[in-house]
Symmetry: C2
Subunit: 324 residues, 2 copies
């Protein structure tokens, strides 16, 4: 049996996927540069004889190519996932997302690996003209370097599918929640409340509407789709799926869930404006009919997902220790 290669294997979603693949009896090579990945997330995997950790960076193409030998499927999840600070270091999205994805594709080509799953983002729809936003929404204008780099990755992957007969699965995620969650608004809010339980600073006006998906539901969706092999029958060898819940919440709702769960009643301070930051999209809600048509459905509501995330953060406060 050939192995499955997971980039970003020590990340939030990557390590969850690795554990799930190993539980399913698969052989897995995990690849990570540990820039944001956590070794502790691989504690379980490292005790499994079917798991091999390969430490390295996607920008090191020769090492990446060597590590991928003997695999037949790649889950390319490694990325700079920091949407908010793209403008502070514009080359990061280009290097860690665009160039990195190209290297993954080239390493695959060298190794004769043709099946790839890719974590794209609902941010590619920019400020979508149609909400809920379907996969074939009107051609969007990109408003963040993060999303631009993911559109770039999608384009290269689909071109490799067309040109080199790859089989591509592109998943446009909403924000993902759950165990091992290490960045995003719940992470930030909980950190603030740990430091000062009496006040909470909220970016924007708190009315931003966003959709969130529980990490196990995210992994389930990817595995289900790949198992069905839909891209093999697709016109250009690639299938694109929105991954999200059929609901959304306001940031203020999320604040309410968090404070309720913690039994806190902090004073709320809003930075103001409809957007949390430049390029923030005040309303992200994806049309998920396509993924639902495969038979997949969510196991947790957004509120349950927030609760699960918060519980994990409470039990794993070490994730805050490394932060500057």
């Amino acid at each position: 049996m050939k192995a499955i290669f997971v980039t970003g294997a020590a990340g939030f979603i990557g390590s969850t996927l690795v554990d799930r693949l190993l539980a399913d009896g698969k052989t897995v090579v995990g690849w990570d540069n540990f820039s944001t990945g956590q070794r502790r997330f691989l504690d379980g995997a490292l005790r499994n004889k079917n798991f091999k950790l390969a430490e390295g960076d996607n920008l090191d193409l020769p090492a990446l190519t060597r590590a991928m030998a003997g695999c037949d499927t790649v889950f390319h999840l490694a990325a700079n996932a920091d949407v908010r600070f793209g403008l502070e270091h514009p080359s990061k999205d280009l290097q860690q997302n665009t160039v990195a994805t190209f290297n993954v594709l080239e390493a695959m080509r060298t190794n004769g690996v043709r099946r790839i799953a890719f974590s794209s983002t609902g941010s590619v729809y920019g400020e979508a003209a149609v909400i809920p936003t379907p996969e074939d929404a009107p051609f969007p204008v990109q408003t963040s370097l993060y999303a631009a780099s993911k559109v770039s990755g999608e384009g290269m992957i689909s071109s490799y599918c067309e040109g080199f007969k790859f089989e591509g699965y592109i998943f446009r995620f909403v924000s993902i929640l759950g165990e091992r969650y290490t960045h995003g608004h719940i992470f930030d809010f909980y950190q603030q409340l740990l430091e000062h339980p009496g006040r909470l600073k909220i970016l924007g006006d708190g009315k931003q509407r966003k959709s969130y998906l529980y990490v196990q539901d995210c992994v389930n969706a990817m595995l289900q789709v790949i198992g069905q092999g839909t891209a093999q029958r697709a016109k250009h060898g690639v299938e694109i799926y929105n991954l999200g819940t059929p609901e959304y919440v306001q940031v203020n709702d999320s604040v309410g869930h968090i404070c309720g769960a913690l039994g806190l009643n902090p004073q709320l301070e809003y930075t103001g404006g409809a957007r949390g930051w430049v390029g923030d999209n005040p309303f992200i809600f994806l049309d998920t009919q396509k993924i639902q048509a495969t038979g997949w459905k969510t196991s947790l509501t957004i509120e349950q997902g927030i609760g699960r995330t918060l519980q994990w953060l409470q039990q794993n406060q070490w994730v805050y220790e490394k932060r500057p």
Copy 2:
């Protein structure tokens, strides 16, 4: 008066734009690495005191940044424009288009230059679901590395417009024809007929339908739009325009025009299939209502453009000399 910076200044479209800007009394800095640009195309410009040639490569960011000092507008036309052979050297589109465009944006940011016009392509629509294809057509699947790299460039530019208050003009070109045309199907057909007037090899079945635009009409459109400053009023600081003619021709029609003009009747040999090459789009026809609404219109029909191109190639056979 600040200068206008033109990347790819020695290219087909770039040199035509440079001459036009100089004729309009502008000061121009032309930037080219002469990988495909032709020094002869700048013969006229180099005699004009308002023109300065800066020789260098977009991948050399420090040199690019220095060369751009004192400019207030950038026409970023330099690119690997070779759509057909993308699969033979996949990194070329990434480097010369994606990374190069990033460098242009960074050089602009360093120099405080905020206005950019960008030559994108109708190929970004892939095999479009809607024909004629409007700017907000359904989110396409990319089928060539060339188009993927242009989508990437578009995304970075619009993100800089959103994040750094740039003013962006993105033009999605159909194939451009006219004086100084140095690659494409007319170039190839004429070359074949010079070598053996009795036969002509045609990629695909000859039924591919494509639209072509005369280079002076292309330059007129860009200058008209930028003069109107539409992006300053656009939601994200960026405006996207299809540039094409309101007609299309079959490759076979084009062959007829060429052979008619040359008085030849070669035997036609088709390689077969609906596509000229892997990733070729058998039907490119853009909806140009948006650019037409600015008051712009074409001066030549496609047939006239083909005639003008052929006439120029006949008078400038030196363009074939450097070819391997």
